[in-house]
Amino acid sequence: MRPIVSVRNISKLYHVGRPQNEPPSLRQAVTSAVRSPFARLNGRSSDDTIWALRDISFEARPGEVIGIIGRNGAGKSTLLRVLARITKPTRGEIDIYGRLGTLLEIGTGFHPELTGRENIFVNGTILGMKVKEIKRKFDEIVAFSEIERFLETPVKHYSSGMYLRLAFSIAAHFEPEVLLMDEIIAVGDISFQQKCFAKVKAISRQGRTIFLVSHNLASIRTLCKRVLLLRSGRLHEDEDIEKVISLYINNEEDNGIGASNRELNR
């Protein structure tokens, strides 16, 4: 089967701190431009850079649920943000043969003064749904989130659980061909989490592709048939997901809390 997502040689460079010849204010930008009009054309001269992603390539096929794991700062979120078009790669290219949905945060664009009903429409369109689509799925979204009685209540009066359930429910009912999720599967209480897991599995059975960033290896094991490990911006993968997971765990021990634990045990 043809891939639905094709990632080729993606790299992302971040400038840490402020590059030396970049003025912090408009006033300084204008004065320095007047003084030396061609200085900016020479480019940056800052050494404070980090390659958050280094030459990443992979393909994803319809129906795959792909877990992305790695330590903090390994580049997981950067990879999702590049895939989501929130930020641009420094090098490389990506082709996606379908609609893309991003769930990097729950309840983006929720307005506290608006009711649950109103926020379903606002949040839905921000996520990329069409109004027709929202109307069609409205009852399902409400039923899944279990907030029927509070549909006409401003969300500022919602409990945090209700808020999360509604937000997740809207996003889960957006049915893009490719869905990106960042650590948000673990919302709500146990029974709602079970519902979320079932929903993710149902989405993949429909042939939709899901990328899931998580630190929770248990949920990665339950949901994913494939795992990508990021280490300092580089990609590691193996047919056997247990091998990738153990690489991740051992890597953690090599230069993190694990190392100091070993010393203590000695």
Binding site: E93, G109, V131
Partner: protein, 276 residues
Amino acid sequence: MYLPAEPLIKIRARRAFDLMNLREFWQHRELLYFLVWRELKARYKQTILGIIWVILQPLLMTLVFTIFLGQLVKVQTGVTPYPLFLYAGLLPWTFFSNAVSSGSYSILASSQMVTKVYLPRLVIPAAAVIVRLSDFLVASVVLIVLMLYYGVHPGWQLLLLPVLMLELTVLALALSALLAALNVKYRDTGTALPVMLQVWMFASPIVYPRTLVPARWEWAYQINPLTGMIEGFRSAFLGLPLNRQALVLSWAITIVLLVISLFVFRRLEDDFADIV
């Protein structure tokens, strides 16, 4: 599952040279609608004072200028009574200045959205400007009351109102996009703006007629796109003769500003999520 032959989304390190992706913007028209709707809904829910303030702001300014310029300095405005002359200029100006103020902060204020979801970023300043159109409509009621009081009625020039409204909105959007983008990169942009707007207001024929301007300053009024627009609004509301040449010139300058603004916005928008 059916896969299209061509990718729906192509992500490339370099962007093709274009001013804006019109097709993409059009695809997100429902989003634009709901961003405007969200602001209006939230505003009218929160306070009734919000609506009163929309009328009060130009009304208080009219009162102050009528006392100082109308009564004390006795600025001559021809056949039109000074308060009516003034309000017909303040009404579009208030929309413009409020639209540019909120538009220039719109990207910073929506940082949560910019960093968490993809959308054509131009819809954010566009929504901020369109929200202010509702203020214009509300504040127009005062103009109608003043016109009835002074017994002034509009002529055929009123037909030009949609064209003028479009032009003013386009100019506000152009400046909002430019300043919103600069504001993300250089945070002092927003600090400088209120002073700039104040200067611009007095450099445009809003509280006084253009006839008072000395000939050697005439050029400054010609390159100021608001000159033609403000005079156009007065002509449309009060049935005064129309200065066609000034109107055409202001359209030309507005279009040039729009092109420059879209270009700058496009250049800077890729970095919004990384620096906002």
